[in-house]
Each structure stands twice: as structure tokens, then as C-alpha cells.
Amino acid sequence: MIRSGKDFWTGLIYLFFGVSAILIARDYSLGTGGKMGPAYFPTILGGLLVVIGVIAVIRSFVVPGAPIGAFAFKGLILVTTAVLVFGFVVRGAGLVVALPLLVIISALASSRFRWRPTLIMAAGLTIFCVLVFIKGLGIPLPIIGPWLGG
């Protein structure tokens, strides 16, 4: 019976990263202690992580811990989606499309979302960013992208 969800899941994450590191590092040369190859240090770290993961998992069955608590799935999904969408469309459609999309999608995550202030915010931020980042600092992003004939 798992008595500490936090310990159990964190332990599994550590085990996952530790085991992957060791397995992937097998493709690189290990070298010797005096002349360490690219696999040497990652293998040590992976081993340590596996040990820590095992301890955490064992402890999760023995020592009771606080519950993890509900995940804010709405916020997690909307905020992440908003950022990913921005990345996907910014080169093609340009900042005038990508930036309002980022603002609106992420703002939807709030329980106090209202259209009017969000749209005003999106418009204001777009103008500000075009002026400061593209015109001012010369960041190579299109204002209106090739998808829109810009």
C-alpha cells in the first residue's frame, strides 16, 4: 500500500531519468577514471539518481506523507497550450496573430476571465511588443507573417 504519493511518484520520476541516463550513455565511450569519456559522469549521476529513486519508492510504502493535492489541469493545459501555439504560429503568421492568441488562450485559464479587458490587454501588449522588441531591439520576428502574405 502506498502511504506517501509524493515520495512514490517523485521516486518513479528519478528512476525514469536515472535509468534512461545510464541506458543512453551506453552508446558513448566510458573511458577510465584518469581519462573520463563522455559517458563517465552521466553514468555516475544516473546511478545516484536510481539509488535516490529506489529509496524514495521504498520510503513511500513505509512512511506516511501528505497527499499530493489536486492538479490544476485547466491552468496547466491552457497555459502550456498557449505557449506552444505561440511557438508554432509566430514565424508563419507573425506577432500580430501569435501574441493575441497567447494572451487569450492563457487568459481563459483564469476563473475571472472576461473578454473585454483581455482583448484590450492583447491589443495593447501587441502594439507595445512590436514597437519595443521588433522595432526597438530588432528581434527577427515578422510582424505579419508569410501565411498572411506579410
Binding site: T10, M36, F41, R59, A66, A72, G87, L102, L125, F133
Partner: protein, 502 residues
């Protein structure tokens, strides 16, 4: 009078109109983000780092440092006026500061905070100036074994001072070291853990990781419970403390400065711990201890001095050893590397104007803070009124554009999103991201020093124990680890974090 001539050199660097301007911009922005809850200095510095690439290195570092200690200061203003700590380090200030404000003594509380911070800042500036050169001179004797052991000590200390389970903090450090190794291995040219992805060949940028874990992760967490922020702004009256107030402030400010300076040097959450420790010590020894929690001026002066002193002395290991002690100074290390400066003990000799200029600018910045804050209090209070649902989409915009501009590639935007998710998941699991970011930056350096030390010793690992300085550093690391296991200490550690997170 070598110290004076050094400080004069620093003054010449820091007092140029351009650098004064960047110092001002830094502390101004810092105060602003310190005032805004839900936006910390780590995320802000990560966001603004790309903007500073166009500046000369001295100006960039002066501005970044200003953001950091400015944010500590801004956090206390809101703690006192509206009971909202903008920064973790100013949580204890709310206890007595807000009570004073409710009694119509907001002015006296703000003055106590300003005077305490300024005094602590001045002392800390001299501490850096005094201890910096000898420490750097010692560090110049360090070989690879010593540097490796020093990093072990730094990481252990960050683990000891981290919040929550010790085991998970160690896990986060090891994971951070591992993630830091992604990219091309400098010795063999092997691409490690890149999965054939071109954008990973140079590794993941630390700014990307910081923005993801501290920027995005924090936003998602704040969306969990959007508490009603009905701000009841207290009227600011009695702007000047009475003679009695001054008398009561002196000793707490002195004690706070000492405690804060000492804890600030330690890696991890030094400045948070400093303000808590200073408060609880005052509470135990003060003549007016009955008043604590009901508006005692000592309860504002001591923690405020401590957190400002700590914010500044945390630059000592950064400037003299090149070892970052918290996420903010880790970002500064990154900034120095981007500007072509290898942080470490040689900075002080090779770039004296940078070293001393930064130190003097901290003192000037503190002066700005005192002068700035009184006339601008009204503006800061209005800034708190910005509702969070309008604030966070804006933060996301700056994060996204900022991270893109690092290498002009969308890949960093995706990596940032990934680390945002990771940061949120880890915070749900009770694992603190700060030690991980520290380890992430130190990962490649540690590997390099380990390799060199082992090469010199022909593969004999006892070299770390045979060299006296290295052995001492490792012994200190073991000692630090053991203190956590002592019940009295671990109880204090827990209390400190319970109080600061409630």
C-alpha cells in the same frame, strides 16, 4: 588604503551617467516586481537577460544586481501597506509591519524598513569590498580538485537550506546536474542526450529552464487558487518615526544586519532564512517582546535589515569564487559567461573596474531605493491593484519573446513550456526547483573539474581527500548534511519554512 583606492575605481565606473541610469532602471524594475505578487526576481531576471545583451557587461550586471536587491525592497513595501508579501523574504515583515500600518503608523514602519535596509546594504557593501579580495586570493590557489569540492559544498548547502524533504532536494540536484550535461561534450565532441535534435546540440539554455520552472510553473501554481485580492489600502500617516522609534530600531538593525550577512553567504534560501532568523531572535531577546505581532517596530527593522544584507552578501561567493549561491546569482553567472567573462577568482584582477564598479553600484542602488520609495509609494500601491488575471498573460508574452530572442529559435519556446510543466509537477510533489537550477548551471563545470582533477591524479579518487583545502571543503559538506539530522536544527528549519510559506 588600498580599499579606498579600489572603491574610488568602483565609483568612477558606477557613477558614469550611463551606469547610474542602468542602476536606476534596475532598482526601479526590481521594486516594481517586488511589489507585484506572483512575479519573482528569478523569472524577471531571466526575462530581462536577453535585453541586457546589447549593453556593455558592467552596465548589464549593475542593472541585473539592481533588480535583485530592488525586489527585496519592493516586497517589504507591500508587506507593510497591504499585508501582501511580494517576495518570500518579506513574509515576516507582514507580521508587525501591517499591524503598524493598521494603527496609522505605516510611515514609521516604512521608514524603519528603509533605514534598516540602507544601513544593512552599506555594511554589506563594505563586507564584500573587504572580504572579496582575500577570498579571491585564496581561491586563486585552488586547483580542479578544490573547485570540485567547493561545488559539492555549495550544492549540499543548497540542499540543506531547501524546503521540504532532504531526499528530494538531493534528487533534484542530481537531476539538475544530469540535465546540465545535455549537449555537446567539450572534451570528445560527442553529442550527449540530444536525440538527434539539432537545437539540443548546444544544450538547453539556463534562461529557458529558469523561465519555465520559475515563470510558467509559478503561474500555473498561482492559477490553482485565485484568492480574492481585495486590497484594503491603509492610509499612510506619520511618515517620520519618533525619537522613541529610533531608539528602539538601532539594536535590531545591527543584529539583523549581522545575521542576514552571515546567512546570505550560504547557498540556498539564505535571505529568506535570514529574515526569519532575525525576527525570531528579536522576538526572544527584545524588551518589548510582548508587542511582537501587534506592531512592534523591532519586528520590522530586524528582518528588513537581514534580508537586504543577505541579498547583497550572496554576491560574495559569486564574485570571488564564481560559485552561485541562489537561482538569481546562478543567472548572473550565466550573464557573465554570455558577456565573455569567466566568473571566478580572476575577475577581481582581470576586470577590476567591473568588480568594484558592481560593488559601488550596489551602494548607490540602495541610496536610490531610499530616495525613490517615499515619493513613489502611491504608484506602487496602485500597481498592486492590477488583477492577476491581466498580469499573467503579460508575463507569458515577455517570457515567450524573451526566450525566443536568446538564439532566435522557436525550439526554446517549446523547451520553456516543457520545463514549465516539469516545474509545476515538481512543486506539486514537494520538490523545490531552486537547487535544481543551481545544479543545472554547475553540471558541466563540475564534470570539467572532476575530469581535470582525476587526470592530474591519474585516476586516483583519493586526491579529493589528500589535498587539505579540498578535504576541508568536503568535511564541511558532510558536516552540513549531518546538521539536518540533528533534531533541533531540523525543527528550526521546518519552522522557518512553515512560517515563510503560510
Amino acid at each position: 588604503m588600498e580599499l579606498l583606492s579600489h572603491l574610488l575605481l568602483g565609483l568612477q565606473t558606477a557613477a558614469t551617467p550611463a551606469n547610474l541610469f542602468y542602476c536606476f532602471v534596475g532598482v526601479f524594475l526590481g521594486t516594481a516586481i517586488g511589489v507585484l505578487p506572483g512575479l519573482g526576481p528569478t523569472a524577471t531576471i531571466a526575462m530581462l537577460l536577453p535585453v541586457t545583451f546589447v549593453l556593455p557587461p558592467v552596465s548589464a550586471l549593475i542593472m541585473l544586481a539592481g533588480i535583485y536587491y530592488g525586489s527585496q525592497y519592493g516586497g517589504s513595501t507591500t508587506s507593510i501597506l497591504v499585508n501582501l508579501p511580494g517576495e518570500a523574504a518579506s513574509v515576516v515583515t507582514t507580521l508587525d509591519g501591517y499591524q503598524m500600518a493598521k494603527q496609522g503608523r505605516a510611515g514609521a514602519a516604512l521608514a524603519a524598513s528603509a533605514i534598516g535596509s540602507f544601513f544593512a546594504g552599506t555594511v554589506a557593501t563594505f563586507l564584500i569590498a573587504g572580504f572579496g579580495p582575500p577570498l579571491a586570493a585564496v581561491a586563486l590557489q585552488f586547483g580542479p580538485a578544490e573547485f570540485f569540492s567547493l561545488m559539492v559544498l555549495g550544492l549540499v548547502a543548497s540542499v540543506v537550506l531547501a524546503q521540504g524533504s532532504l531526499l528530494h532536494a538531493i534528487g533534484m540536484v542530481v537531476l539538475g546536474l544530469l540535465l546540465g550535461l545535455i549537449g555537446t561534450d567539450v572534451n570528445s565532441g560527442t553529442q550527449r542526450f540530444t536525440f538527434g535534435i539539432y537545437d539540443l546540440a548546444d544544450g538547453i539554455g539556463f534562461v529557458t529552464v529558469a523561465m519555465g520552472m520559475f515563470g510558467l510553473g509559478e503561474i500555473i501554481r498561482n492559477l490553482e487558487n485565485e484568492e480574492e485580492r481585495s486590497v484594503m489600502v491603509t492610509k499612510i500617516t506619520g511618515l517620520w518615526p519618533t525619537r522613541e522609534d529610533f531608539k528602539r530600531m538601532v539594536a535590531p538593525i545591527l543584529r539583523g544586519t549581522i545575521i542576514g550577512s552571515a546567512l546570505g553567504i550560504l547557498p540556498g534560501s539564505g535571505s529568506i532564512l535570514g529574515s526569519f532568523a532575525a525576527y525570531s531572535i528579536e522576538k526572544k531577546i527584545s524588551k518589548n517582546r510582548a508587542q511582537f505581532g501587534k506592531g512592534a517596530i523591532e519586528g520590522v527593522a530586524a528582518p528588513e535589515s537581514a534580508n537586504n544584507a543577505g541579498a547583497q552578501t550572496s554576491f560574495i561567493p559569486l564574485l570571488t569564487l564564481g560559485i552561485p549561491s541562489n537561482p538569481v546569482s546562478a543567472l548572473m553567472v550565466g550573464a557573465m559567461i554570455i558577456h565573455g567573462i569567466q566568473p571566478g577568482p580572476s575577475v577581481i584582477n582581470e576586470q577590476p573596474s567591473l568588480f568594484w564598479g558592481m560593488i559601488v553600484s550596489m551602494w548607490i542602488g540602495n541610496l536610490f531605493l531610499v530616495v525613490l520609495n517615499y515619493p513613489l509609494i502611491g504608484m506602487w500601491v496602485r500597481m498592486i491593484m492590477i488583477p492577476y488575471q491581466l498580469l499573467y498573460p503579460g508575463i507569458l508574452v515577455f517570457c515567450a519573446i524573451g526566450v525566443f530572442s536568446l538564439k532566435n529559435t522557436e525550439a526554446d519556446i517549446y523547451f520553456m513550456a516543457l520545463f514549465g510543466v516539469l516545474g509545476y509537477v515538481f512543486s506539486k510533489l514537494g520538490c523545490e526547483p531552486a537547487p535544481m537550477l543551481l545544479a543545472f548551471i554547475l553540471g558541466p563545470l563540475m564534470e570539467e573539474y572532476l575530469r581535470r582533477a582525476m587526470l592530474l591524479s591519474r585516476g586516483d579518487p583519493t586526491v579529493f581527500l589528500r589535498r587539505p583545502i579540498s578535504a576541508t571543503l568536503l568535511a564541511l559538506a558532510v558536516l552540513a548534511m549531518c546538521t539536518v539530522l540533528i533534531p533541533a536544527f531540523s525543527k528550526t528549519r521546518e519552522e522557518a519554512f512553515v512560517e515563510s510559506s503560510s
